[in-house]
C-alpha cells in the first residue's frame, strides 16, 4: 500500500535536515504505529506524505498503491486515497461542517472520475456515520471545528475519515488532548474503519492509544530514521523503559 524508500527531507527555508533516510512499508489492511521522542521527525513524515508546503525532499521516494505521492498536489493525494488526521485540526469559520465535507467528498469523486453524491444520499450517509461517533446535528451545521472541544475536533477528524473512505490513513498524535472517554470513542471510530483494504499509520508518543487501536507493527523513530521495528510488544517496552535505552542501543 504505502511504500517509503530512503526518504530524506529538509525544511525549505532553513535547510535543516529532518528526515534522514526513512524506509517504511505498510501493507494493505495493516496497522503500523510510529513512536518516538519529540523532534524525531514523526509529524514531518505525515506532512511530507500529505503534501504540506515548506518541506523539500532531497532524496528517496514515497508511493501509494504504486503511484508517486511526492509528485501530486495535496488534493490529488487525498483523491488517491491518502488521509491525514491532524494533530491540531484547523478552525474554518463561516464554512459549515457539512458543506465542507460534501465539497470534499464530491471533489474527490470528481477527481477520480466518479459521479457526485446527491444531497439526499450524502445526508443519509453523514447522519448514519455521525451517529456512531456521537456527533450531533448541531456539530454538523456549525462552522468547521469552530468552538469544538479537543475531543469534538478529533471525532470530527474521524468523521471526515469515515466519509472520505481513504485507503491509507495517517493519524498524527490523535490522542493528544483527549481524555480517556474521548480516546475510547475515537479509537472505536478508527477500529470500525479497519478492513482488509485499508491501512493505518498511527503516530503517537504514548503507548496508551495503542491499547485501543491495536497495531500489527510498531516502529521506533529517532533523529529522522526508523531505528527499530517490532510487534506490539515494542510499544510496551517504550512504555515501561522509555526511549532512552532504545536510543542507546542504536548508538
Amino acid at each position: 500500500m504505502l511504500e517509503i524508500k530512503n526518504l530524506h527531507v529538509e525544511l525549505e527555508e532553513e535547510g535543516k535536515k529532518i528526515l534522514k533516510g526513512v524506509d517504511l512499508t505498510v501493507e494493505a489492511g495493516k496497522v503500523h504505529a510510529i513512536m518516538g521522542p519529540n523532534g524525531s521527525g514523526k509529524s514531518t513524515l505525515s506532512y511530507v506524505l500529505s503534501g504540506r508546503d515548506g518541506y523539500a525532499v532531497t532524496e528517496g521516494e514515497a508511493t501509494l498503491g504504486g503511484e508517486d505521492l511526492l509528485e501530486m498536489e495535496p488534493e490529488e493525494r487525498a483523491a488517491a486515497g491518502l488521509f491525514l488526521a491532524f494533530q491540531y485540526p484547523v478552525e474554518i469559520p463561516g464554512v459549515g461542517n457539512m458543506t465542507f465535507l460534501r465539497t470534499a467528498v464530491n471533489a474527490q469523486r470528481k477527481l477520480r472520475g466518479e459521479e457526485e453524491l446527491s444531497s439526499g444520499d450524502f445526508l443519509k450517509l453523514i447522519r448514519a456515520k455521525a451517529k456512531t461517533l456521537k456527533i450531533d446535528a448541531d456539530m454538523l451545521k456549525r462552522p468547521v471545528n469552530v468552538g469544538f472541544s479537543g475531543g469534538e475536533k478529533k471525532r470530527n477528524e474521524i468523521l471526515q475519515m469515515a466519509m472520505l473512505e481513504p485507503k491509507m490513513c495517517i493519524l498524527d498524535e490523535t490522542d493528544s488532548g483527549l481524555d480517556v472517554d474521548a480516546m475510547k470513542l475515537v479509537s472505536e471510530g478508527v477500529n470500525a474503519l479497519r478492513n482488509e483494504g485499508r491501512s493505518f499509520l498511527v503516530i503517537t508518543h504514548y503507548q496508551r492509544l495503542l491499547d485501543h487501536i491495536k497495531p500489527d507493527v510498531v516502529h521506533i523513530m529517532a533523529d529522522g530514521r526508523i531505528i527499530k521495528t517490532g510487534g506490539p510488544e515494542l510499544a510496551l517496552e517504550v512504555e515501561t523503559q522509555g526511549y532512552a535505552h532504545l536510543l542507546n542501543e542504536e548508538a
Binding site: S50, A78, P93, A104, A107, Q160
Partner: protein, 431 residues
C-alpha cells in the same frame, strides 16, 4: 477661512451643472440651507485629509463617467425573501415596478411626494442628521445630496414591520447620475429591516438618515455590486435613542470607486450600534477601489458599538478603512470594538487603514485592531488535504475570512442570501 481656489472652482463648476428640484416649502428650505453648506465647505479635494486615500474627483466632477449596464440587470439577491419592493430606475422611483407601499406598522412615501407637501414630519430629519454629521469632520458630498436629491423614500415605522422593505436600484442608461436621499424614522419600540441592492447608476450619491427612538430597532443589509465601472459615495447618518439597536451590513463586490460613510451617534443609554462590511475586489476585471469611512460617537452611558470590516483584494484592488470611535466625556461604560482586516491575495493589492480612538471618559472598554495578510496556509492545506482543489479551498478560506462581518447579519435567511451572492461572485472568478 477662504477656500482654496481649486476647490472653489471645482465646487462652482459642479453646482453650476446642478438644478434644484421642485418642492414644497419645508424641503426647499432644507435644500437651500444645504446648498449654502456646500458653498461654505467646498466639495472634497484630493488634498483634504479625509480624502487622503480616495481620490474624490470623479465623485465631484460635473459630469459622471459612464458605466455599462447589464442586459439582464434585475439583481437576484433578496429575490427569495418576502419583502416590500420599492424600485428605482436610474435614480427615479418607479411606481409600476414597485409593490403597493402599504405595510402594517410602516408609512412609506416617495421623497418626491413628501417633498411636494408644504409641511411634513420629515422636515425634522431631512438634512438635520446630515448637518449634525458635518462636525467634527466635513462631509460635503452629503450636503450636496441634501441640496439636490429629487428622489428617495421617507419611512416612518410605528410598530414591528411585518416584512423587510427592500430598495432595488436599477440602472438603464450608461450615463445615469443618481442622487437619492432616504429618511427613516423608527418610533419608540418599533422595528424595521431595510434591504438595498442593485447598481443604481453610473454615479450614485446616496444619503440615508435614520433616527431610532427609545427601544427601536433598525436592521440594514445592502449589497453593492456587479457593475465594474460604477462609482458611489454613500452616507448613513444615524442617531440612536435609549436601548435602541442599529445594525448595518454591506457586501460590496466590484465597483471602480465606492466610498461608504457611516456616521452614528449614540445619544441614549444602553444603545447598540453595529456596522459591518465585506468588500471583495479583483483588479483584473476592472478598477476596484473601496473605502469604508466610519465615525461613531458615544454620547451616553453603557452603549455598545462594533465596527467589523473585511476586505479581500487581488490584482491591484485597493481597500481603504478610516474608522473612528469618539467617546465623549460622560459616556461611561462604553464598550467599543473596531476591527479592519484585509486579505491580500497578491503583492499588487493595497489596504490603507486609519483606525482611530478618541476617548474622554475614564471608565470604558475600547479595542481596535487592523491587519493585512495573505491567505492562511494552515487552513488552505487542511482543506486541500481533504481533497478540495486549491481554487475552491482558497474561496472557502475567503469566506472564512469575511465570516466575522457576515455574522453581523441577524436574519438567517438574509444572511444565507448574502453568502450565496458572495459564493457566486467567487465562483464566477474561478470560471
Amino acid at each position: 477661512m477662504a477656500l482654496p481656489q481649486q476647490k472653489l472652482d471645482a465646487t462652482g463648476a459642479r453646482l453650476a451643472a446642478m438644478s434644484a428640484p421642485e418642492g414644497g416649502v419645508w424641503i426647499s428650505e432644507a435644500r437651500a440651507a444645504a446648498r449654502a453648506r456646500v458653498e461654505a465647505m467646498g466639495l472634497p479635494h484630493r488634498r483634504d485629509e479625509y480624502w487622503k486615500y480616495t481620490r474624490p474627483e470623479t465623485l465631484v466632477d460635473p459630469q459622471a463617467i459612464e458605466a455599462s449596464t447589464f442586459e439582464t440587470y434585475e439583481p437576484t439577491v433578496f429575490g427569495e425573501i418576502d419583502r416590500l419592493k420599492i424600485v428605482f430606475v436610474d435614480g427615479v422611483y418607479d411606481a409600476e415596478a414597485s409593490d403597493d407601499l402599504s405595510l402594517a406598522g410602516v408609512e412609506i412615501e416617495p421623497l418626491a411626494e413628501a417633498g411636494a407637501k408644504d409641511i411634513h414630519w420629515a422636515r425634522d430629519l431631512y438634512g438635520v442628521l446630515e448637518t449634525r454629521g458635518q462636525s467634527p469632520v466635513e462631509r460635503p458630498l452629503a450636503a450636496l445630496n441634501t441640496a439636490y436629491a429629487s428622489d428617495g423614500v421617507v419611512i416612518r415605522v410605528t410598530g414591528k414591520a411585518e416584512k423587510p422593505v427592500s430598495l432595488v436600484y436599477l440602472q438603464e442608461t450608461t450615463s445615469s447620475d443618481a442622487i437619492f436621499h432616504h429618511v427613516v424614522k423608527i418610533e419608540a419600540g418599533a422595528d424595521l429591516t431595510l434591504l438595498e441592492n442593485g447598481p443604481a447608476a453610473a454615479r450614485l450619491n446616496k444619503v440615508m438618515e435614520v433616527e431610532i427612538a427609545d427601544g427601536g430597532a433598525f436592521h440594514h443589509v445592502r449589497t453593492q455590486g456587479r457593475a465594474h465601472e460604477r462609482r458611489a459615495a454613500t452616507h448613513i447618518f444615524a442617531r440612536l435613542g435609549k436601548e435602541s439597536v442599529f445594525k448595518s451590513f454591506t457586501l460590496t463586490v466590484n465597483g471602480a470607486l465606492t466610498r461608504n460613510e457611516a456616521v452614528i451617534e449614540l445619544t441614549g443609554d444602553d444603545a447598540v450600534a453595529h456596522v459591518a462590511g465585506a468588500a471583495l475586489g479583483d483588479g483584473a476585471t476592472g478598477d476596484f477601489h473601496h473605502d469604508d469611512t466610519v465615525f461613531i460617537t458615544h454620547d451616553a452611558e453603557n452603549c455598545e458599538s462594533r465596527q467589523v470590516y473585511k476586505k479581500v483584494l487581488r490584482n491591484g484592488a485597493v481597500g481603504v478603512f478610516q474608522g473612528k470611535i469618539l467617546v465623549k466625556d460622560g459616556a461611561q461604560k462604553t464598550d467599543g470594538y473596531q476591527i479592519s482586516q484585509s486579505l491580500l491575495l497578491d503583492d499588487d493589492s493595497q489596504f490603507l487603514a486609519k483606525p482611530e480612538l478618541e476617548i474622554y471618559a475614564d471608565d470604558v472598554v475600547c479595542s481596535h485592531g487592523s491587519t493585512s495578510g495573505a491567505i492562511d496556509e494552515e487552513g488552505l492545506f487542511y482543506l486541500r488535504s481533504r481533497g478540495v482543489p486549491k481554487d475552491i479551498a482558497t474561496d472557502l478560506m475567503v469566506i472564512a475570512f469575511v465570516a466575522e462581518a457576515l455574522e453581523e447579519i441577524e436574519d438567517e435567511a438574509i444572511a444565507a442570501d448574502v453568502l450565496s451572492r458572495l459564493e457566486s461572485w467567487l465562483q464566477r472568478r474561478r470560471g
